[in-house]
Chain length 327, copies 2
Amino acid sequence: MVSTKEVIVGIDMGGTSLRALVVNPQNEILAVEKTPTNVAQKPDGLIRDLAALAEDVVRAAGLRKSQLRAVSIGAPGAVDPEHGVVYHAPNLGWDAVPLGAKLGKLLRVPVFAENDVNVGLVGEHVLGAGRGAQDLVGIFAGTGIGGGIILQGQLYLGARGAAAEVGHMIVQVDGPLCGCGNHGCIEALASRTAMERDVRAAIRSGQKSCVLKLMEERGKERMTSSVLQRALRKNDPVMRKVMKRAQYYMGMLVASVVNMLDPECVVIGGGIAERLGESYVAPIRKTAYQNFLRRHDAERVKIVPGTLGDNAGPLGAVILARRRLQK
Amino acid sequence: MVSTKEVIVGIDMGGTSLRALVVNPQNEILAVEKTPTNVAQKPDGLIRDLAALAEDVVRAAGLRKSQLRAVSIGAPGAVDPEHGVVYHAPNLGWDAVPLGAKLGKLLRVPVFAENDVNVGLVGEHVLGAGRGAQDLVGIFAGTGIGGGIILQGQLYLGARGAAAEVGHMIVQVDGPLCGCGNHGCIEALASRTAMERDVRAAIRSGQKSCVLKLMEERGKERMTSSVLQRALRKNDPVMRKVMKRAQYYMGMLVASVVNMLDPECVVIGGGIAERLGESYVAPIRKTAYQNFLRRHDAERVKIVPGTLGDNAGPLGAVILARRRLQK
């Protein structure tokens, strides 16, 4: 039995879908709802969708709206968590949207917002693969590569709020062009987008691969994580080679990050890790351990796949909301 | 007039010389003494040299030994600052030497020890180029490349005390072999050792350069920072090309570090910066600014040469000693 105002709704705003959980004070998930992200509409329309989704998920848990304490959102972009403003979210076409204020007005409860990768890392830190660590780095690889840093138990945001852009650490000077305009960022070498580019190039150069056929069968225009997984299961030689190279780059990135920050734990999350789990992380860990400057106690640094999958973000958002409510 | 027990001696243990300052509570340097580092002797011999040097510098300031409050040492290696133990200092051939305890016994005052790069960064933070910054990264380029991180005003040491090994961030996967056994670390691309390797390779391949002649004239077997400076002044084409490339790599490193940590300030110190100052740092800054993910307010991140030179380490050691004495 949940008493008044005890549940919090956590929402992950993905580029393709909005995903909401309603969570009780014991961190139990009482209900889950999902709706497609209609990016075509203006911010106000999407904010109305978020309000409807929050109300739906509360109802799906068999609760009344009066039992909702707060809503907390992970948004894909630069967020000012103090004021709940989403400053720059290219995937949504948003710029300086006062999400917290607007959604709060619709729902009449406090609304918090934080960057989606940061909330995902907080979720893994408190409830998932990073439990117990004080110093923790999260690397989330999917379409792009994002990151988060927790130092002494707290999110580290940097002087301009621009920290933890792990995807734009340069691991190959003059390497392939990145979406950010630079060359040789890890995102341009090991994201799913980079792997798709390399698979297509290999096919164009005459190498045999089933990847394009798998995409067609599944009606996908892009090489999704499920296509990637299926191609690996079929032992596709191009996919295997491209994945091995991406894991090698990721291992070098992890080594750089550990040589710099010496955390207790590196959590590898995101779409690829969620699909492939330990089989994705094991070669990354091996390369990383071989390239730490301090190798004699390398294994003290845990390098592990995330364990919360899609729930990491909404759960982390709920945890951050609770911290803010207690302030 | 200095009253009883008010001065602290800070010493930098370099591979070639030991350098000591005696400093009053107003951070004024009252005297400086230097002696060659006799690495051939056992640790106990070198510790006796340190004791003699500390007594000499106090005397040189016209003070009595009874006026000495503490001694604080920056050591080139892995240091346990809690216990004053130097765990691993390859340049000295030291392993698990209880420097604090042994030197304390000889001098009968508290002796503190910290990694030499960390004390240098603390010096620049409190008294030099990094004044006023809360989040600060130091990159010290000379024979090798070392680093330090200050977050929220405090040295960040990492979970195993192994943080801030900036020299071993990998910026070119499969690049040149580094002294650490890996490939493509920034130290293997932009340290003075790496530059000397590239200059010698260019000369062997038939390019004209005055560097070897300058080394011979000055009786140096290695390309020191003064040789490097002189070759640049003579507009040596090989030296210019090699330096330009090293600065480009350093700029990429700074961009990576800023994309990761978003500090307020990056201090570039060490032998090369000390010789060349702004003319070394300006091209590094330019490349870094161009490669920040967040470019619109790039210039909020200061990238500056250190201002304390050789004194950064001993002064930082004194400041850390004061903090420890106040605990």
